[in-house]
Symmetry: C2
């Protein structure tokens, strides 16, 4: 197996190679669209199931709305339409026919042109709020707390596996509320759900914050986000939750009679995370040997590799291995016993390192004599010998330790890559030499934000929710500012 | 709540009303596409989870392939392309722009025309086999046992909720094998998985059979199917499993080196079930009061309705109800305690009947005195009084009984609606007066099948797999035949 390009050599190349070599995903025959391979999909399924559980726990239900948005609905909320118009896949025809000039080939049938074009959903506010119009008459019909797992399409010119693809999988929550306050609380609650999921399940530390107006979702009054930091010092937006005000209710005329008997427009939120999280997962934890997965997300948590010569030894080791496997499975731990005889242990070690299996257990003839096994941790690459007795309990605890250690490592990296700067010179220097989040004052205008972006490629990732107030002056214009914001180059 | 149209009055109207009133689905603002509402989606989720479990149990893994199929890939397998060309949604552009003549409106940007049109997948053989080409070199790469949960689009002119919609949700398995025999065994295995799922989870009795050549999936060498019978005597194809031979391997040049070192084309299967199963579920079990759900599929299995006057009574009943609820939940049974004070018990009874909640428990002040509860079964509308002590155990057993009874009832209906006929006159009479499956001889030609279809609207649903051989003569041409086939009008 050819070695991975190292992160130090070429971080971007390392990422692309890793995604493909670890069998997570690959480019497809369709421009900008990926194939999510079984191993990658198994990780996504774990993420999906855990998020779904959290959504239901907070009172949400799933539903499914159409893939297509008629153009007239799409353009109803102007800012939203403007924000997505440039990256829309558009269905114009509904039939193919035989090409009279090329037997065996097909052409679009010009007689099957749609009266109204259909947009392949880049996001579903329009189709959903045009539906909610019929569902909402009274405050008794509220709140509506719906989530959808779906595919969406945003025509991207420069795509990268998981991080930016023309089609991606995601969940989008769309809720309707009777009051402004309730809608704001919902968007904040879902941000907390995302942050909790990212930190405690994906082991990715995140900053909770608010986007500046220029970085807001098209059609939102406020966008909340969680921002993670990758190992190359670039930030990645890992989830967003939007307070949409009454913008979509007004665009689609969704009114209700409130408790006081007055007619008003409904209040909205939407919130989403996508397969982009796979990119965050990979780039937060992995190393030059391959994937590092927190145990909660690993399709295989423990692999047992027998070290043997000849069938008799394999048979003896298998007995012990199968017993350990059964005990671990009884604890809900997923275990693979790799008794394949074609590949050597060394090959297997490399393969499971590449795939990010958190714990590898090797059992050889000496181990049988001594009543021990060798346990290797993927995250820190340490090895140790442990007694076979109660090794299942030991591993159960070890997986918890690994989950925590993986998070701690990422958090230490993140915490040591937040740099306070007070001058633009310093800003550029830190951005160039160290990367990471840069905490600096900003004058609150689109202009300064834009200038910094144009000159440095750094954007304001967010205004952290737990920000301390601090008097200061902004980087370029020197205007007074009351708090620092987080800048970074970003994916 | 206005009553449902009865089945006897107008079966089709009954179905449409029921789907909407029971909050399962509704038509959307997009022609032919439906909105699957939360209650309907919760049922679909249960079906999906159980099927997914069965697929994994039989060694399959999930993956995800692109929504779009470039035209050149779509047309590669000619029969498949021909079969779906007439119902394809086609993406031709990737951008909208402001309409210069109508401020606030958008038009398709003529400068953003795709070089090659993209077909929204009506099924994924083409995109998947063009991918498998890169995955398969040696017999060691086989079998590939992949399933995908996805949305697909087939442009239908006459649509009906769940039964026939332009977009629907489904799963599609796509497997690749080293030998013809293994691929045939896979397609037969998956038919068995579907039949087991339909009968033991959905409580829908099905006939396992083979489609005639004219009813085969476009591109298949053999199509296996499960056929169910609805209460109006029409059949519904509930799942299909296709042996695709080497057709797609040849179209996409997927070759491998076999164990003997020779190059050959891979063998394929595909198999699918869809949200159409929701239609089968509704039409198999439901009655004039609303949905009837087998307990395995019911989002709420038990509802507890308090019968009370005043807050004090409600409080006393609540104590008992919450205790029962907790005990049932501990047994993995989903329970709703409906302590809403706005709606009267009678309204609630009708509502939960409409929604198909299998067991309703009513608790009133008399019950508290007597230490009893009233238990009503949704499936047969019977009521009984039971002691509160151990009522959780009683209900656990009752749910199993209901699951079995719902199946038995459907099976009795089905079994009494399979009629053997030996003349075309009798065939038409039975079809007209009784409906159901008609078991008759056929001469094996497309022509006779076509004539019967044109004259009676009945099609050959399948040649049952467990068919007894029997000499006979066919309905129209009088040619000799060795076995009967099943005809029916179908959804």
């Amino acid at each position: 197996m050819a070695k991975l390009t190292t992160r130090a050599e070429d971080y971007s190349k390392w990422y692309n190679e890793l995604v493909v070599k670890a069998d997570l995903a690959e480019n497809s025959g369709v421009r900008g669209c990926m194939v999510i391979k079984p191993y990658g999909y198994a990780i996504w399924e774990k993420m999906r199931d855990e998020m779904d559980r959290k959504f239901k726990e907070t009172g949400h239900v799933n539903a499914y709305f159409p893939l297509f948005v008629p153009k007239s609905l799409f353009e109803a909320e102007e800012k939203n339409a403007e924000g997505f118009a440039k990256e829309c896949a558009v269905v114009t025809h509904y039939r193919l026919k035989n090409d009279p000039d090329n037997p065996g080939k097909l052409i679009v049938d010009p007689n099957a042109k749609l009266e109204e074009e259909l947009i392949v959903r880049p996001t579903s506010e329009a189709i959903i709020w045009s539906t909610y119009k019929n569902w909402i008459q009274s405050y008794r019909d509220l709140p509506i707390l719906i989530n959808q797992w779906a595919n969406v399409v945003r025509w991207e010119m420069r795509t990268r596996l998981f991080l930016r693809t023309a089609e991606f999988l995601w969940q989008e929550g769309h809720t309707a509320h009777a009051t402004r306050q309730e809608a704001i609380e919902e968007s904040e609650q879902m941000l907390d759900v995302y942050a909790d999921f990212a930190e405690n399940f994906m082991a990715i530390p995140v900053v909770r914050g608010i986007k500046t107006p220029s970085e807001r979702f098209a059609g939102a009054d406020e966008t909340y986000c969680i921002e993670a930091l990758m190992q190359d010092g670039k930030a990645l937006q890992a989830g967003t939750s939007h307070f949409l005000g009454q913008n979509f209710a007004k665009a689609f005329d969704v009114k209700f009679t409130n408790k006081e008997g007055k007619i008003e427009y409904a209040w909205a939120t939407s919130w989403g995370t996508s397969t982009r999280l796979m990119g965050a997962l990979i780039m937060t934890h992995s190393d030059d040997h391959g994937l590092v997965l927190p145990p909660s997300l690993a399709p295989i948590q423990v692999v047992i590799v027998p070290i043997f010569k000849g069938e008799e030894q394999l048979e003896q080791i298998s007995k012990v291995a199968l017993d350990i496997q059964a005990k671990l499975k009884a604890k809900g731990i997923s275990v693979k016993f790799d008794n394949d005889t074609q590949n050597k242990p060394g090959w297997k070690f490399a393969e499971y390192e590449l795939k990010g299996v958190p714990v590898r257990m090797a059992i050889g003839p000496k181990d049988l004599e001594n009543g021990t096994v060798e346990i290797a941790r993927r995250d820190n690459l340490t090895k140790e010998v442990q007694p076979i007795d109660n090794v299942d309990t030991y591993i159960e605890e070890l997986l918890k330790t690994i989950q925590q250690d993986v998070f701690n490592k990422a958090k230490t990296y993140r915490d040591t890559h937040v740099t306070k700067v007070d001058t633009y010179e310093e800003f550029k220097k830190v951005l160039e030499e160290k990367g990471g989040f840069i905490s600096a004052h900003w004058d609150g205008t689109d202009e300064e934000e834009e200038q910094i972006k144009n000159e440095t490629k750094a954007t304001i990732r967010c205004i952290p929710l737990d920000n301390e107030m601090e008097e200061g002056v902004s980087l370029i214009t020197g205007k007074p500012s009351k708090q620092r914001v987080l800048f970074a180059k970003a994916y």
